[in-house]
């Protein structure tokens, strides 16, 4: 994204808002699939993690990639389940709900912070425009 001098902070905060929006998308996918035993590939749902990178020098932030969390699946004893193995265990997604809730809190706080910066910068510009009156 191109950044020009006086509108730079606006573009940067908007990139922050968009990044946190993506993060929310990833979190909602993880929470929605917290008990998805079959993700279509014979495995339970694998938790996803958004990786961000900075967009050049002072260019804001952008989504680099969404990577699967390769930690072990949760094993739950449920012999009655048709998907249970011979020991009676069912593999469950490696989604950890308390962790997702924490990430959700962080994402919404960072979103608020970006919005606050945007608002403050807007007020700064207004101050400059007042000089034109």
């Amino acid at each position: 994204m191109e950044v020009n001098n006086s509108f730079g902070p606006i573009d940067i905060t908007i990139s922050g808002l968009r990044a946190q929006g993506k993060q929310m998308e990833v979190i909602s996918s993880n929470v929605a699939n917290a008990r998805t035993v079959d993700a279509g590939n014979g495995e339970p749902y694998r938790r996803l993690e958004a990786v961000f990178k900075s967009d050049g020098e002072m260019g804001g932030v952008e989504l680099d990639k969404i990577v699967p969390d390769m930690s072990d699946f949760l094993e739950v004893l449920d012999p009655g389940n048709p998907l249970a193995d011979e020991r009676g265990y069912v593999a469950m997604p490696n989604v950890n709900l308390p962790l997702e809730m924490m990430n959700l809190n962080i994402a919404s706080r960072v979103y608020q912070a970006n919005a606050a910066v945007l608002k403050r910068y807007q007020q700064m510009i207004e101050t400059t425009l007042e000089l034109l009156r």
């Binding site: 509108f7 606006i10 573009d11 968009r18 929006g21 807007q122 425009l129 034109l132 009156r133």
Partner: protein
């Protein structure tokens, strides 16, 4: 006419472009969830800069703001590429530009008023 009239014309052209851009932004927000919709933007400043850097007189009536599809934001699963945050950012920038131009215009008029002397 060059001189003061030219400045008023330039500001007027800018304000016109900004109103059109505001329309484009409202259109984008209205189509936030329309499948297959691509966001539109207005190309004006680049055209104006090109005209101003070229030699000779500038006829502002020749520079028409252009509507185009930037196709730069990622496309969602329904083929739509409108992002609400991006539109809000564009709107804030547009409002700032608009305010600056309107204030410049009013400054220009009060200058003319001053030149006309005590009434």
């Amino acid at each position: 006419m060059s001189g003061p009239g030219n400045i008023v014309d330039l500001i007027e052209a800018g304000i016109k472009a900004e109103s059109l851009r505001q329309k484009a932004i409202s259109n984008n927000v209205a189509n936030l969830e329309t499948p297959g919709y691509r966001r539109v933007d207005i190309r004006f400043e680049e055209l104006l800069a090109k005209y101003l850097s070229s030699s000779g007189d500038v006829d502002l009536s020749e520079i028409e703001p252009e509507i185009y599809q930037p196709k730069q934001t990622p496309v969602k699963s329904n083929g739509n590429d409108v992002n609400f945050e991006v539109e809000v950012g564009q709107m804030i920038k547009n409002v700032i530009r608009h305010k600056a131009l309107v204030r410049l215009l009013s400054k220009k008029y009060s200058q003319m008023d001053l030149a006309m002397g005590p009434k």
